[in-house]
């Protein structure tokens, strides 16, 4: 097993980034596609494995038309959203309908524009399957929830022990249904993204199970409880040590007096902001835990042609640490620490991605691919549609 290496540096990327930002501002946004290409080229080309590197092949010219159309759509969306409530409802419905298509087009474009060691990736997913995965399943989940919810709201007012019993049973059913559906959708999505990915003539294959995804969700829930409890204790201790319980009690007495109330509130401001920060940190931790668990499981069960295997050694604590410190640095520098943050995240991710290729990478060949339009990818980008497995 060999880990990927990230060879870029924060300072070098900062210089590329600032020039991108400057040119984007000076051209009133028109340079954006070229900036995106330079960003992607930098991160792809600096990701290496055994002296071979990734490469991003799209050109600014290729993205430009798609970018203009995506911007026009996005601007109309923003304007309609503000002036017509009914119009924005229709737009949201259209967007939901378009999501599977956007995901598929983005996957195809991004995979084809990526190569490793001179051989291109590809994506062979079909549109019908995309609609089942990203539209039908979430819709079914929603309908299921509404049905159980309605059943509960009918059962509870009936009164009596039987109704309470039925209510509890239905609530338990709802939790089980949620747990199962999330795991089911997660499995289907992971399979869709990985099983249709190609590297040259090589085919990726994943073998994941609903049971394991359910277990990860349960573990995450347990972890979330623990983290929330710890965060609550820390904030509670903070309040006790700094302002004391009296101030909180005094707050209750001051309810009738607005000026006193405002004064008390101001004294509490630092501790309130601190507990907000604590909440953000806790949620980052929980997110990092869930993500690393999924990553480890999916990587371990993914292979390329039975010749190449993968593994993830990413752990929740280092990931959460990098994300939290990045967040603080970006806020404190009004965004100018962004390049360093991005490089740090990329380095952590790559160095915890392991690849084992018994026969090396010498016998892959780029397969014939048709010309691909960037339109779907650009629209997906503008509307922030999540694409890919997410790690």
């Amino acid at each position: 097993m060999k880990a990927l290496i990230f060879e870029g540096s924060g300072f070098e990327y900062f210089k590329i980034w600032i020039v991108n930002v400057l040119l984007t501002i000076l051209t009133l946004g028109l340079y954006h596609p070229w900036a995106k290409v330079r960003n992607n080229r930098y991160f792809y080309a600096n990701s290496t494995l055994e002296g071979r590197n990734f490469e991003y092949h799209a050109t600014g010219k290729q993205l430009f038309i798609g970018y203009l159309i995506a911007m026009a759509l996005f601007i109309s969306y923003v304007i309609i959203n503000q002036i017509s409530p009914s119009g924005s409802l229709i737009l949201i419905a259209v967007l939901f309908l378009a999501v599977p298509w956007l995901i598929l087009r983005s996957m195809i474009f991004n995979m084809r524009m990526t190569s490793f060691s001179n051989v291109h990736f590809d994506f062979t997913g079909k549109l019908g399957r995309a609609y089942i995965n990203f539209f039908a399943y979430p819709l079914a989940l929603y309908i299921g929830l509404v049905l159980i919810g309605t059943a509960i709201s009918i059962a509870i007012p009936l009164g009596g022990v039987a109704a309470v019993f039925l209510g509890v049973l239905l609530a338990a059913g709802m939790i089980a249904f949620l747990l199962f559906s999330f795991a089911f959708i997660k499995k289907k999505n992971t399979e869709y993204f990985i099983d249709h990915s190609r590297y040259g003539q090589g085919e990726f294959k994943t073998d994941v199970h609903i049971k394991k995804f359910m277990l990860i969700t349960l573990k995450t829930l347990g972890f979330a409880l623990l983290v929330t409890l710890i965060a609550a204790i820390i904030v509670g201790l903070g309040v006790y040590v700094t302002v004391g319980v009296d101030s909180i009690m005094a707050l209750k007495g001051a309810e009738q007096n607005p000026e006193l109330m405002a004064e008390k509130m101001r004294a509490l401001m630092p501790i309130i902001s601190l507990s907000y920060l604590g909440m953000i940190a806790a949620s980052i931790f929980i997110m990092a835990y869930s993500m690393t668990q999924h990553r480890t499981y999916v990587y371990a069960n993914t292979r390329l042609d039975d010749k190449v295997t993968f593994a993830s050694t990413l752990k929740a604590v280092p990931l959460a640490w990098v994300l939290i410190t990045n967040f603080i640095a970006i806020i404190c520098t009004l965004g100018f620490a962004f390049p360093w943050a991005r490089v740090r995240t990329a380095r952590l991710m790559l160095e915890n991605t392991l690849v084992n290729a018994q026969n090396g990478f010498d016998d892959y060949l780029t397969q014939k691919q048709n010309e691909t339009s960037s339109l779907g990818e650009q629209i997906g980008d503008a509307f922030d549609v999540d694409v890919g497995v997410g790690f």
């Binding site: 600032i18 911007m71 996005f74 601007i75 051989v119 965004g335």
Partner: protein, 377 residues
């Protein structure tokens, strides 16, 4: 000699290779055997980006890649493929500093002046019909979810309308495409009747019952009506729509390639920016009201009287915490407030009132600053 790797077209197999350049031709040696000899201009060299692996594509589609960027730059210096403007910007420290400074200045100016100025231009270039378009359904929506029927007598409504159309509305006669209509509504929140006045871009002005009751003189009501007319004349709603569009699109471009966490900071930033625009609109509407009052020989202090009465009415029964915090001078929360603080507005009204007593038709205003106000009060 430049060392690197060679790949056959579309193949992942790597072989050690080296490129020798003499004059305007080159020799590519793969595994110690000469494979290609040709002219330099047949090669396609990728543009330089930091120190990432450089790719040179040969005529048959095979690829020579190397880490030796400097050697490639040197070799292709005189070739048309060698142009590298962007890389020069990225690699010269002085250029990076210049870029940083220009970015900071233009970013600041863009938000501070660029967006408001452009939005104003666009808003005023659009036909009045666009005002009617964005106002359509708004009153129906409020009637359905927020307002109740007014309890003011039909007689009093008639009186207020008569006065408005004969005395106040003509002051804005230069914008005769706007047809003003007064509406009376009851607005209740937790059993408390709320004093307020709103303007819709179409020319509809809504007065709440409590506001009408709180007005002690005719001039007070006229001052607020003129303020609302100021919003309409200056097309503030349309400007807000355009400004938020600019902000959202800019935010999308900034945050597009970041993660969800940085988005929170960006969200806070755009909140600060849009509240600052909103405060600008309020100040502009105030100014409109004051100037019209001077021309119509009304004392602008009436505006400050009604503002004070409204804000103390809201404060004492402690309707919302935010309202109270807003009033505290120099508070951080002032920056996210959509209105200038009442103290500031009252101070400007006082200065206009002085001009009024001197019998002036226009007035130079010294902008009140937080700290000086603090020491005065």
């Amino acid at each position: 000699m430049i060392n690197g790797k060679w790949y056959a077209k579309g193949s992942s197999a790597q072989s050690d290779a080296s490129l020798d350049i003499t004059g305007d031709s080159f020799t590519l040696t793969v595994k110690e055997r000469i494979k290609y000899t040709a002219l330099l201009h047949t090669l396609n060299v990728s543009s330089r980006l930091g120190n990432v692996t450089r790719k040179i594509i040969l005529e048959d589609g095979s690829v020579f890649s190397t880490q030796d960027n400097d050697a490639v730059d040197l070799a292709f210096k005189k070739q048309p493929q060698g142009k590298k403007i962007i890389h020069t910007l990225e690699s010269k420290m002085s250029w990076v500093l210049v870029a940083l400074i220009i970015t900071l200045i233009s970013g600041f100016s863009f938000f501070k002046w660029g967006i408001p100025w452009t939005s104003k231009k666009i808003a005023h270039a659009l036909p009045h019909a666009s005002n009617q378009l964005i106002a359509s359904n708004t009153l129906d929506f409020f009637d359905k979810y927020i307002f109740d029927k007014s309890q003011i007598s039909a007689e009093q409504m008639q009186k207020i309308r008569m006065h408005f159309h004969s005395q106040v509305a003509p002051l804005g006669a230069s914008h005769d495409e706007i047809k003003y209509t007064l509406h009376f509504r009851l607005w209740k929140d937790a059993n408390l009747s709320i004093p307020n006045a709103f303007a819709l871009p179409s020319g509809d002005i809504i007065l709440t019952d409590r506001f009408v009751q709180l007005c002690e003189t005719q001039e007070e009501m006229d001052a607020v009506l003129l303020h609302e007319m100021g919003h309409i004349v200056h097309r503030h709603t349309l400007e807000t729509v355009i400004e938020s569009t600019f902000i959202t699109v800019t935010v999308m471009m900034i945050a597009g390639d970041s993660n969800g966490l940085a988005d929170m900071g960006v969200g806070l930033g755009s909140l600060l920016v849009s509240s600052s625009y909103s405060r600008g609109h309020e100040a502009e509407a105030d100014r409109y009201a004051f100037e019209q009052m001077l021309l119509a020989k009304m004392d602008p202090i009436a505006f400050s009287n009604i503002m004070n009465r409204m804000s103390s009415y809201i404060q004492v029964p402690s309707v919302s915490k935010r309202e109270q915090e807003k009033e505290s001078q120099g508070d951080v929360l002032d920056y996210i407030s959509s209105h200038p603080s009442t103290k500031q507005r009252v101070e400007i009204a006082r200065q206009y009132s002085e001009c009024f007593h001197k019998g002036l038709n226009s007035c130079e205003i010294i902008k009140p600053i937080h700290s000086t106000l603090d020491s005065k009060n």
